[in-house]
C-alpha cells in the first residue's frame, strides 16, 4: 500500500525509531528536522516493495558521522 507521509508520521518515525535504535545514539532533532522539512516541501510517498518493478533502482540513504563532529 502506498501513502503520502505527513506531519504525524514524523513524530511516529522519531519515536518508533528511538526504540529500534536499540541503545545506540542518534539524533532525534536531526530526524525531526528532516521529516518536518520533507512534509512541508513536498509529498514524500512510502511504497512497499511489492509495488516496485524488479528492474527499478533502489539506493540506500544514510548519514555518516555525528552532527556535532564528535565520535558519538
Amino acid at each position: 500500500m502506498r501513502r503520502i507521509l505527513g506531519a504525524r508520521d514524523v513524530e511516529a518515525a522519531v519515536k518508533g525509531g528511538a526504540v529500534l535504535a536499540a541503545g545506540g545514539g542518534g539524533w532525534a532533532d536531526h530526524g525531526r528536522m528532516l521529516g518536518v522539512a520533507a512534509v512541508n516541501t513536498g509529498q514524500p510517498e512510502l511504497v512497499t516493495m511489492d509495488e516496485v518493478p524488479d528492474a527499478a533502482w533502489i539506493a540506500t540513504a544514510a548519514a555518516i558521522g555525528a552532527p556535532a563532529g564528535t565520535t558519538q
Binding site: G25, G31, A38
Partner: protein, 292 residues
C-alpha cells in the same frame, strides 16, 4: 550538514549511475535514520521504500548492507555535506567494491567536520526484495503511532503499548548498578551495563548498541538480531550514552522470531568482529536457537 545534502547525494549517485533512482531505503532504523529518505522523496520524487537493511540499529555497516559488504561487485557511493562555517563542505562520488569505498566515505565525514549525507549502493529492486527486511519503515511508524496514542495515559501505558505493538516483553528491570563502557581505538563503544543486583541482575552487552542480555547465571535472555532496548519509567528509550548508574530502567526484548530479518543478519561473517570485541558468541543465537 543540511537536509538538502541528502537530496544532492541522490542527484550525484543518479548522475553516475546514468539512470533514475526509483526509491531510497535505509540500513537501519533510528531516531533520524528512519527519515533519511524523506527529503529526497519530497524534492526529487524518489519513493520512501518500505524496506530496511536491519529493523534495528547495529554497530557495523556490514550488518545492514544486504550482503553487499563482501561483494566484489563495483558499487556507486556519493557523499555530500560537512561544516560549511569552516569551509569544510565537500561532495564526492566513488565507485568500487563496497569494502574499499565505504572507508573513503567515513574518512570524508571526518575531513568535512564530522557529518555528511550519503546515497549509496544502487541495486535493482529484485535484489532488495530478496535481501532486505521488508516493511521496516511501516513497523517503525506503527510503533511510534502506538507510543503517541499511549502517551497521555502515562509511562506504564507507553511501555504496555510498545510490548503489545511489537510482541515484545520486559525481561527485567532495576537500577543501573554498573556501567562499564569504553570508547575503543576501533571507534566503538564497548562494554557492559549491569541492571539490578544479586541473582536478579541482568548484564547488557554493548557494542554501540545492545547486542545481548544475560542473567546472573550467564543464561542468554536476548541476543541480536532480537531488538533490545532500555526504557525509563516514562517509556522513553534510553541510549547507552544517556545511561548513568542509579537510573531505574526496564529491559525490552523483541524476539527475532516476530520481526522481518534481512539476509545480512543470516550471514555468519558479520558476527566475527562483534564476538571478538565482546567475548561472547552471537552467531549461534543469530543463526540458530532463540534466546530466552
Amino acid at each position: 550538514m543540511l537536509g538538502i545534502d541528502y537530496v544532492k547525494a541522490v542527484e550525484l549517485t543518479q548522475r553516475e549511475l546514468g539512470a533514475a533512482i526509483y526509491g531510497l531505503m535505509i540500513g537501519q532504523n533510528g531516531k533520524s535514520s528512519t527519515l533519511n529518505g524523506w527529503l529526497p522523496a519530497a524534492v526529487l520524487g524518489t519513493k520512501v521504500i518500505d524496506a530496511v537493511g536491519d529493523l534495528r540499529a547495529h554497530p557495523t555497516g556490514d550488518m545492514g548492507s544486504l550482503g553487499l559488504a563482501n561483494s566484489p561487485e563495483p558499487m556507486i557511493q556519493s557523499a555530500v555535506g560537512g561544516n560549511r562555517a569552516n569551509n569544510a563542505y565537500i561532495e564526492l562520488v566513488v565507485r568500487g567494491a563496497t569494502a574499499k569505498i565505504s572507508p573513503i566515505l567515513r574518512r570524508a565525514a571526518d575531513m568535512s567536520g564530522g557529518f555528511i549525507a550519503s546515497c549509496r549502493n544502487p541495486v535493482p529492486a529484485s535484489y532488495v526484495k530478496q535481501h532486505a527486511a521488508l516493511g521496516g519503515i511501516s513497523i517503525a511508524l506503527e510503533l511510534g503511532e502506538a507510543i503517541i496514542r499511549a502517551e497521555p495515559k502515562g509511562g506504564a501505558a507507553v511501555i504496555d503499548a510498545i510490548c503489545k505493538q511489537m510482541h515484545g516483553e520486559i525481561i527485567g528491570q532495576g537500577k543501573v548498578a554498573r556501567k562499564a563502557v569504553q570508547y575503543t581505538s576501533e571507534a566503538f563503544d564497548i562494554g557492559t551495563v549491569r541492571i539490578g543486583d544479586a541473582e536478579r541482575a541482568l548484564v547488557l552487552h554493548v557494542m554501540n548498541e545492545y547486542l545481548a542480555v544475560e542473567d546472573a547465571g550467564k543464561k542468554r535472555l536476548a541476543s541480536y538480531p532480537d531488538v533490545i532496548a532500555t526504557l525509563n519509567r516514562d517509556g522513553m528509550p534510553t541510549s547507552v550514552g544517556e545511561i548513568g548508574e542509579g537510573m531505574e530502567l526496564l529491559v525490552l526484548r523483541i524476539s527475532k522470531d516476530v520481526i522481518p530479518l534481512s539476509s545480512s543478519v543470516r550471514d555468519p561473517s558479520v558476527y566475527q568482529v562483534c564476538e571478538k570485541a565482546l567475548g561472547i558468541n552471537l552467531t549461534e543465537y543469530a543463526l540458530g536457537r532463540t534466546a530466552g
